[in-house]
């Protein structure tokens, strides 16, 4: 005869636990495979565009916003469709994503990590966005990428060029369409070798923060590998505006090349100061003194004016490319805004399209399903030719552009000329490369949040 252990108190306890479990929303239960942060339930889905709307990169942020708004139009079936017409993936039908119309909200990064995290957090928690896209700083990108990883949101970085973004700070929830400092150096070095020779002495001025260090390390390694000597590397404060006291020592240093590892206002001012000191008119070691700016943007070129003439640098993309994807995007952007898009605008446009396409292919807005759809994804038709989103580190691989300041611009937008389209094979590296965190760098596990 078995003895029953069923008691009134036991039934009540079990019932209470079972009831509480059933009453708990599935979003808080670990076992619920469909639950993820901000799962859209209505007829719309919301994207978050986190760009600098105030501060020194506000113009760049404005151009990113223009491109993102255009991408939303194209995804929702409005306008001429832009590069959706040339994109090799046909998962998007011009009727939104997975039957939902796409809406967007914007945040202001102010190009400050704390402000960028706060605006991203607000868009995730208050606006219920399913992804964050954009930005114009590596420090900001790394900070927001970390936040999105914790929140269970996909982060598509904007203009971030430091190796660390998809190097030691890579995250499973983060992807980068933009190229990086290593790729700039790998593309530029052979052109510099061809133009200036292998016997050169380079003096570096480097912005004292994560991107500057990353850029300097990359370009110094690439130029030293072809025979150049690095005479000196001087770190300059990010807040510096007058670089005369850093330029003056270059004059009698024995260097015949000045490498400006500066971006934005720093680059505009340091290049202007270098030209004022007559560096490009000098002859040193029997050679013409040259200046190199490893990372260019159209807005920086406009700010530097005629000082940029003949100066070499690199870019992720440029409106002068002649592939079908570029032509379609430039036509669409130009018709709407009356100006050609910048390379940061193209990055944000492509990323918005790619995220939407990945969701359509995955059949879900679950960030882990989207990450899986983006990993190892190969496509064409969005600019730069055949492109790969590498699964190992979430870095995008495509051809890189070497540019030069144009001698005789025909308009305010015609400041740079395309010198070379460096094939992707020349800028590809191992995911565990020492400059990218080595073997210790890992993506971690995708976080769907909730």
């Amino acid at each position: 005869m078995s003895k029953s252990t069923l008691t009134r108190r036991g039934v009540l306890k079990t019932g209470a636990v079972a009831g509480a479990t059933l009453a708990t929303p599935t979003i808080f239960t670990a076992g619920s495979a469909a639950a993820y942060t901000n799962e859209p339930t209505g007829s719309t889905v919301k994207f978050g565009f986190n760009v600098p709307q105030t501060g020194p990169y506000a113009e760049e942020g404005l151009d990113e916003l223009r491109a993102q708004e255009l991408a939303i139009e194209h995804i929702n079936g409005m306008g001429d469709g832009g590069a959706l017409n040339t994109f090799t993936s046909k998962a998007l039908g011009g009727d939104g994503v997975l039957g939902k119309k796409v809406e967007f909200v914007t945040g202001d990064t102010q190009t400050k990590s704390d402000a960028a995290r706060a605006s991203a957090k607000s868009m995730i928690e208050k606006d219920g966005v399913v992804m964050i896209n954009g930005g114009s700083s590596s420090g900001v990108a790394i900070a927001v990428q970390g936040l999105c990883q914790e929140a269970g949101i996909i982060f598509m970085a904007g203009l971030t060029h430091s190796n660390d973004t998809t190097g030691k700070d890579r995250k499973a929830n983060g992807f980068r369409h933009f190229f990086n400092a290593y790729m700039s150096a790998a593309a530029l070095a052979p052109v510099l070798n061809k133009e200036y020779g292998s016997d050169r002495r380079a003096y570096h001025l480097t912005a004292d923060y994560t991107w500057g260090w990353s850029q300097q390390e990359s370009i110094a390694a690439a130029t030293e590998a072809m025979g150049w000597q690095t005479v000196n590397n001087v770190l300059t404060p990010l807040a510096a505006t007058d670089f005369s006291s850093y330029i003056a020592p270059v004059l009698n240093s024995g260097a015949d090349v000045l490498v400006l590892n500066h971006y934005g206002g720093n680059m505009v001012n340091s290049l202007t100061n270098a030209i004022q000191f007559g560096l490009r008119d000098k002859q040193v070691n029997g050679k013409n003194f040259e200046i190199v700016v490893p990372l260019y943007s159209e807005l920086m070129a406009a700010g530097a004016g005629e000082n940029i003439k003949g100066v070499y640098g690199s870019m992720n993309w440029n409106w002068q490319l002649t592939d079908e994807g570029t032509k379609a995007f430039v036509q669409s952007f130009g018709q709407k805004y009356g100006r050609p898009p910048s390379n940061s605008a193209q990055t944000c446009y492509a990323q918005t399209i790619l995220y939407a396409d990945a969701a359509a292919r995955a059949g879900s807005f679950n960030p882990c399903a989207i990450a899986e759809a983006l990993e190892g994804f190969e496509f064409d038709g969005l600019g730069n030719g055949p492109t790969l989103y590498r699964a190992d580190d979430h870095q995008c691989f495509k051809d890189v552009l070497v540019m030069k300041g144009r001698d005789n611009p025909t308009s305010q937008y015609d400041t740079l000329e395309l010198v070379e389209k460096t094939p992707v094979a020349q800028v590809t590296y191992d995911a565990n490369h020492a400059m990218f965190g080595g073997d210790a760098a890992t993506l971690g596990t995708c976080n769907a949040g909730a």
């Binding site: 807040a239 005369s244 202007t272 000098k282 025909t410």
Partner: protein, 343 residues
Amino acid sequence: MDAILLQTLNGLDKGSAYALIALGLTLIFGTLGVVNFAHGALFMIGAFCAVTVSRILNLSYETVDPTKTDFLGNPLKVKTPYLEGWFGPEFGGALIDWSVPLAIIFAIPIMVFVGFAMERGLIKHFYKRPHADQILVTFGLAIVLQEVVKYFYGANPIPTPAPDALKGSADLGVLIGLDPNAVIYPVWRLVYFGFAALIVGAVFAFLQFTTFGMVVRAGMADRETVGLLGINIDRRFTIMFGIAAAVAGLAGVMYTPINSPNYHMGMDFLVLSFVVVVVGGMGSLPGAVLAGFLLGILESFASMNEVKSILPGIDQIIIYMVAIIILLTRPRGLMGRKGVMED
């Protein structure tokens, strides 16, 4: 030797900008007793006067060049400045080329007017309020002014070059018997230094040798007594505010070829200029000029590789270190007067 000479020149050049801004700041403090955090914005507005003059002189008409295309593949619209159309490429081009020096004529009345409007419209209501209130309201005004400029001109730096004749660099080493190319220095920076010296001299001469200046100096020493003599000292002080605004504005106009102006440039100089005023002594005009050049030179020497290799990061803190040392040893600053800001 070459390096020391170059950094001394750099220091004098940086000091010129610091001294000009600090001169106006301390002039306002010495006369009206107002701590004006909007003074950096006046420097910025001056720079944008130069940008505006350059844009006016570059107003253009468009012609279509069917042989070239724009980024959309349409026939290229070529812009030709009206001035070149009216006066020919040579004279019209020269007027455009000299837009920055020409902007001085435009900037003086504009800046005096801005100074009057600022003082009469807002700051006069804060004379009897605590310094903290004055700082808050003028800082707020500075933010409003820079956002207005950003709205109309954008956030990107705008290149505003020097005239062709004053571009490039001069070999100063040869003049003092050194090897050729030993000491090369930008011509426009030398012009800026000379201009700053001229403006500082003119302000001192105005205060020292004119009746108006004598009354202002008397008012700075004892406002109440001057008032009892039947002199409208407030009106004179308002005029001094306008002059201080013009000095800051001219410093901004002439600075544009050194670094492309942007809406934030006033804030970049504001904190340093306040340090200059405090180090020089609140309300002391010679103190502001002396401290401006002193701190400019120290900042330049701290950027030398030889110094940075011994004290990394010294270039970022040198000015504040010197300020602390001077305030500890001379609490009123280098040339501060007893009783100023001590009540």
